[in-house]
């Protein structure tokens, strides 16, 4: 087998991205939405790594960015889960449609 | 001489003190601050007169310039001429009376006084600014607190009124801002400035004057109730608390008149001549139509508000005539109307506090139970209908004379129309006075009403003193205002 090329990886990351987007739009459970967001982030990470490896192999910028994103994603997950817990406390549910007070 | 910036700064300092000190001191601190202001204004007037007597004939006295936005060439440029001094005097009297009248305010006194002081600061700053950008900033400072004053302490349909007032005045401000910026960008790069004196010495080309003048004039005109943008006046005045109405009619409407004169007419003399007919016709409509609309009102505050539309028409009429007497008369009328209408609103507030009604038909015979307040109402009314000996007379007569000075038929017709308002004014004022102060006591509860308090008496006396002094000795004000007016006329002739 050939080693996977850039296009393969890009295909996977695009698929991952849209799976995440799909999850984000269709799921009602906030945890699942959070997971979808992680999928999106991971697809971006994958892109960075792939471009780093195939386009600028002598540089490490992509890797650094990926590390940043992982760190931020972790922080974000903590934040998001805190919000979700608070939502659960006040609304007794983590259905995203229940939290729609912030409207006109 | 004190530096001019002290005038707008004093109220702000007072307001800061009010914030810092406990609530029980609020009234006294405010009053002390206003008295200081009055003293500063008196000092300013005296030293102004002194300088003029010594032959200092420069356009603006006490000129001072503080760098502000140097990249835009906008600075805190202050200076006064006779017209500004007259307006500052008016402001100080009305502010003091307004503070005194609100002495017994119950709800959120601290905030109320702070807002009043802010308004005063805005007005002072506006009248001394010689930089259009600064002028605009002070104008905004003088507008926004009014929204809160009406919205929080108002009565009746207050939310509607507050919104309407704020939105209409903001629309006016927007027009002014556009005008000022346009003016700024009309100047060649490198020479761009908001400075009044600079613009004065480099007049705009006629073409851009013709576009700009309506913007600026209507913008300021909204403040001074130019027809047909006057509808904020009745609602705003009637919903505002007493001191709010006093400030609104006594000072804010004068911001507009002053702006029309100082910014629109002086900086764009050729366009002013071009649009003069439109201005005087609109003014005459405001005068006559406002007076007729007043006749049909039944609420004292509405009566005074509509009559303000009519009276402010004289200001615009005088300015629109572009004669020396006309402009003198406009300034006189601003001072006179400021004092008189402030007195009127103060008295209405006092009556309302006692009778809990503002309907003309529900009062009656108040002269018997509250003679002092009724007498003050009489004086305000007589001043409004232009009785000699009170301030309205010299003001209106000077406007009429200025109007008649223009030999063209249309101006004379307009002047005659404006003259007619003296009869209509007499009708509605006497109707109002006749059925509130005179006549039989209609409500038995009104047989015994609390007499006027010291603060109310003092407020009324301050305003009445201003009215009487101006009415009996108009030449004092004339000597103050006339040199400045002559400069404007000279500008018109050369520009």
């Amino acid at each position: 087998m050939n080693t996977p090329g850039l296009y393969h990886i890009l295909f996977i990351s695009t698929a991952l991205f849209f799976i995440g987007v799909y999850g984000f739009f269709t799921r009602r459970n906030l945890i699942t939405i959070l997971m979808s967001i992680e999928l999106i982030l991971n697809s971006v990470c994958l892109n960075f790594i792939a471009f780093n490896k195939y386009v600028w192999p002598e540089k490490l910028d992509g890797v650094f960015f990926t590390l940043f994103i992982i760190a931020i994603a972790a922080a974000e997950a903590a934040l998001a889960i805190a919000i979700i817990i608070n939502l659960y406390r006040s609304h007794n549910t983590i259905d995203v449609n229940a939290a729609e007070e912030m409207k006109y | 001489m004190l530096p001019l910036w002290l005038l707008p700064a004093l109220p702000v300092i007072t307001a800061l003190l009010v914030i810092l000190l406990p609530a029980k001191h609020t009234k006294f601190v405010s009053l002390a601050g206003t008295i200081l202001q009055m003293m500063a204004v008196a000092l300013l007037t005296v030293s102004f007169a002194e300088q003029r007597r010594e032959g200092n004939s420069s356009l603006f006295l006490f000129d001072e310039k503080i760098e502000w936005f140097s990249s835009w060439n906008a600075s805190l440029h202050f200076g006064v001429d006779g017209i500004s001094v007259a307006m500052i005097l008016l402001t100080s009297l009305v502010v003091t009376a307004g503070i005194l009248v609100s002495w017994n305010i119950e709800k959120q006194g601290k905030e109320f006084f702070i807002l009043l002081l802010l308004l005063a600061s805005g007005a002072y700053g506006f009248f001394i600014s010689l930089d259009l950008f600064t002028l605009f900033c002070f104008l905004e400072i003088a507008v926004i607190p009014k929204f809160m004053l009406i919205g929080i302490w108002g009565s009746g349909n207050k939310n509607y009124s507050a919104n309407k007032l704020a939105l209409m005045l903001m629309a006016g401000s927007a027009l002014i801002l556009v005008g000022i910026l346009f003016m700024y960008y009309q100047m060649p790069i490198g020479k761009r400035s908001f400075d009044f004196v600079t613009i004065l010495s480099n007049p705009l080309p006629l073409q851009s004057q013709l576009i700009l003048f309506p913007l600026v004039f209507v913008g300021f005109g909204i403040f001074t109730a130019i027809f047909p943008f006057h509808t904020w006046v009745p609602d705003g005045h009637s919903s505002a608390p007493t001191a709010g109405s006093m400030f609104l009619a006594g000072i804010s409407m004068k911001l507009g008149g002053y702006g029309c004169l100082r910014v629109a007419t002086t900086l764009m003399p050729e366009a002013a001549q071009h649009y003069s007919i439109v201005i005087v016709i609109l003014a005459a409509i405001a005068i006559v139509y406002g007076a007729f609309a007043t006749m049909m009102q039944t609420d004292l505050k509405y009566i005074n508000a509509y009559s303000s539309i009519s009276h402010c028409g004289f200001v615009l009429l005088g300015i629109g005539m572009l004669t020396k007497s006309g402009i003198n008369g406009a300034v006189f009328q601003m001072v006179s109307h400021g004092l008189m209408t402030a007195l009127f609103f103060a008295v209405i507030g006092m009556m309302y506090a006692r009778t809990h009604t503002r309907k003309v038909s529900e009062m009656g015979g108040l002269l018997k139970t509250i003679p002092f307040i009724s007498a003050a109402m009489f004086i305000a009314g007589l001043c409004s209908l232009g009785l000699p000996g009170l301030s309205g007379f010299p003001a209106e007569m000077t406007v009429f004379m200025g109007g008649w000075e223009r030999p063209e038929t249309i101006y004379r017709v307009v002047t005659v129309l404006a003259c007619m308002s003296i009869v209509i004014t007499a009708v509605y004022i006497l109707r109002a006075i006749g059925s509130t102060v005179m006549g039989p006591v209609k409500n038995r509860e009104f047989e015994e009403l609390p007499k006027a308090m010291w603060n109310e008496k003092l407020a009324a006396v301050i305003l009445i003193a201003g009215i009487v002094i101006m009415g009996v000795l108009p030449f004092v004000l004339y000597k103050l205002v006339n040199p400045a007016t002559q400069e404007i006329i000279k500008q018109m002739a050369t520009g």
Binding site: F24, A99, Y104 | H230, F292, A293, E405, I422, L430, P474
Partner: protein, 643 residues
């Protein structure tokens, strides 16, 4: 030369009284207000008499004529370098004469009022208002500048308003005060516009300058320079000025306020609405007489007809009224009509008999009309009613008042040798010489005058068979009777003054003599009027009713004052209020304001449409975001590819 202090004292004293009594509020002031006010006027009247003496006999005359003396002047308010309001004091024969009349009658009224208003709660305010009025009226007649005159013109108007509405709790008094002020104000509009025109035609507001420009034989050519509707500008100005005078002087059709003004206290009616303020219009025309004569003769002619018509119509109405004060008010209007038309028919200089006669009549009228009102005040106090039907036979209970009233009636009726006879003869003579139609109407009116005055006299003091009441305090107190006697004495002897020596149209003495033959007709007619009144009202039975029934509609119309009040009411209520005021208010509310509201509401409406997008659904926001990004990316790519 005139002494400034002395002359200044004349207006200043009443003004000081006004300030003191109006502002001070102590018990002392309240109690002694009458004395203080009277004292001030006493000084003022003394100064006026002294000044008059000095003017007429010491310094006023030069070269056989009385000149105009400008005592002092101060620039009060400048409009243009030439046109400015000046506060000045101008002495000329007419002004000096008016000054004496005003201060003297005011003194009488002050003294009378002390007792008349005793116990009134606003005693001091009353005297304060009287002081204000006296001050303004004195300053009015001494004005050197037409605008200064306008200022005091307004001030007398407002003091009249305050005094008519003195009993402010009476709705009728308030209504009358408003009516008086508004109607005179309406007339003042004419005066104001007239002044504006005049100011810019003459390039000055000073009487001297205006008269100097338009008041001589050569000015006719000046004035016809520009014309409108076939009448020269200066004539328009003078017409408008006359409208102002007509309003103040209650000329038809601006007279409707005068009868109602009788709601005020009776001494006030005597002072303001009989003797002084209402003749201000006559004074105004007299002041500008040269301008009228030389530059606006057609207006002078109009004045003659307006005057005589007012005199006639007022006399007819006076015959039918039953309120004692209203009869006197109409009689005042009628007498002022005499003064007016006398000015209207007058010539200038040698032919200026009408001018002199008019001023003479003004002078004598002030005395006997004030006397009539003061007597009426006593009668009203006695019977507590204004209606003549409640009176009768008072001759016995009030003999002194009766004599005074009788003297005044004889004077006004023009019976020799009372004062009114002389002045009225002069007026009639002037009319006979220069305008016959006016003369005939005036003659008839003077007969009517005798009739209605004696009708009043007989109804009140004779006709004892309907003695309806028990007299209470009979005569008035000394403070009231003394003015009565003084005025009565004046009404008897003042006619003997050679008035033409002092007051004439050009300052030169004018010889006036009585033509006995000419006097026969008016005197006979007056006697006829008196006897008709006696036949009708001093007899048992109901002859008056029979006569009035026979007169039918004429009587009814006169009784309803020819429906002029109704016309005014229609004009104000229906035309102005409903026709202009209401539409204006409606327009403001439903058009102008509605447009403002519409712009506000449409913004709000648009916003409420848009705000639905703000649904609160996070996923929806995300979707919108995503598709916006995709769309923009596609658009950008599209544009990049196109280039």
């Amino acid at each position: 030369m005139p002494e400034l202090i002395l002359i200044l004292l004349i207006p200043i004293m009443p003004f000081a009284a006004f300030l003191l009594l109006g502002l001070a509020n102590g018990n002392f002031i309240k109690r002694w207000a009458g004395a203080i006010g009277t004292g001030a006027i006493l000084v003022s009247a003394g100064a006026a008499l002294l000044t008059a003496y000095d003017y007429f006999f010491v310094y006023g005359g030069s070269g056989g004529a009385y000149r105009k003396i400008l005592v002092t002047e101060y620039e009060w308010l400048q409009f243009t370098p030439e046109i400015s309001i000046k506060m000045g004091l101008l002495l000329d024969p007419v002004a000096v004469m008016m000054m004496v009349v005003i201060s003297f009658i005011s003194l009488m009224v002050h003294s009378y009022s002390i007792c008349y208003l005793k116990g009134e709660q606003r005693f001091n305010i009353y005297f304060s208002y009287l002081g204000l009025f006296t001050f303004s009226m004195l300053a009015l007649v001494m004005s050197s500048n037409i605008f200064q005159m306008y200022i005091f013109w307004e001030l007398v108007g407002v003091s009249s308003f305050l005094l008519i509405g003195f009993y402010y709790q009476k709705p009728s008094a308030v209504a009358a005060a408003k009516k008086a002020f508004i109607i005179t104000r309406f007339a003042d509009l004419g005066l104001l516009i007239g002044i504006l025109i005049l100011a810019f035609e003459a390039k000055s507001l000073d009487f001297e300058a205006i008269i100097g420009q338009f008041g001589h034989g050569k000015s006719a050519s000046v004035s016809t320079s520009s014309a409108w509707l076939g009448i020269s500008t200066i004539s328009w100005a003078m017409l408008l000025v006359f409208i102002g005078g007509a309003g103040k002087s209650a000329m038809f059709p601006l007279h409707v306020w005068l009868p109602d003004a009788m709601e005020g206290p009776t001494p006030v009616s005597a002072l303001i609405h009989a003797a002084t303020m209402v003749v201000a219009g006559v004074f105004l025309v007299a002041r500008l007489f040269p301008v009228y004569y030389f530059s606006a003769p057609e207006i002078l002619n109009l004045i003659a007809y307006v005057g005589v018509f007012s005199a006639l119509i007022a006399a007819i109405i006076a015959c039918t009224q039953t309120d004692i004060k209203r009869v006197l008010a109409y009689s005042t209007m009628s007498q002022i009509g005499f003064m007016m038309f006398s000015l209207g028919v007058s010539g200038f200089g040698e032919e200026g008999l009408g001018f002199t006669a008019s001023q003479f009549h003004l002078f004598t009228h002030a005395f006997f009309k004030a006397l009539l009102f003061l007597c009426a005040g006593l009668v009203i106090h006695e019977v507590h009613s204004n209606e003549v039907s409640k009176m009768g036979g008072l001759r016995k209970s009030m003999p002194l008042t009766h004599i005074s009233f009788l003297i005044a009636c004889l004077a006004i009726a023009g019976i020799p040798p009372f004062a009114g006879f002389f002045s009225k003869e002069e007026i009639l003579l002037a009319a006979w010489e220069r305008n016959k139609p006016v003369y005939w109407i005036a003659l008839f009116t003077s007969a009517l005058t005798a009739f209605y005055m004696f009708r009043l006299y007989f109804l009140i003091f004779r006709n004892s068979n309907k003695h309806l009441h028990q007299p209470e305090h009979r005569e008035g107190s000394a403070g009231q009777m003394v003015p009565l006697f003084v005025l009565a004495a004046g009404s008897v002897v003042l006619g003997l003054i050679p008035f033409g020596r002092f007051v004439s149209s050009d300052g030169r003495p004018l010889a006036t003599e009585l033509h006995l033959v000419f006097s026969i007709a008016p005197v006979l007619l007056a006697i006829l009027g008196v006897s008709t009144a006696a036949w009708l009202y001093n007899a048992p039975g109901n002859r008056p009713q029979e006569v009035s029934q026979r007169l039918g509609n004429l009587y009814k119309a006169a009784y309803h004052k020819f429906y002029i009040d109704e016309v005014w009411l229609f004009l104000t209520k229906k035309v102005i209020m409903n026709g202009i005021g209401k539409p204006a208010a409606w327009f403001d509310k439903n058009v102008v304001n509605a447009l403002v509201n519409f712009s506000g509401n449409s913004t709000i409406g648009l916003a409420s449409k848009i705000k639905k997008l703000q649904s609160g659904k996070v996923q929806l926001y995300g979707m919108v975001y995503l598709f916006t990004v995709i769309a923009s990316v596609l658009i950008i790519i599209f544009f990049i590819n196109r280039n």
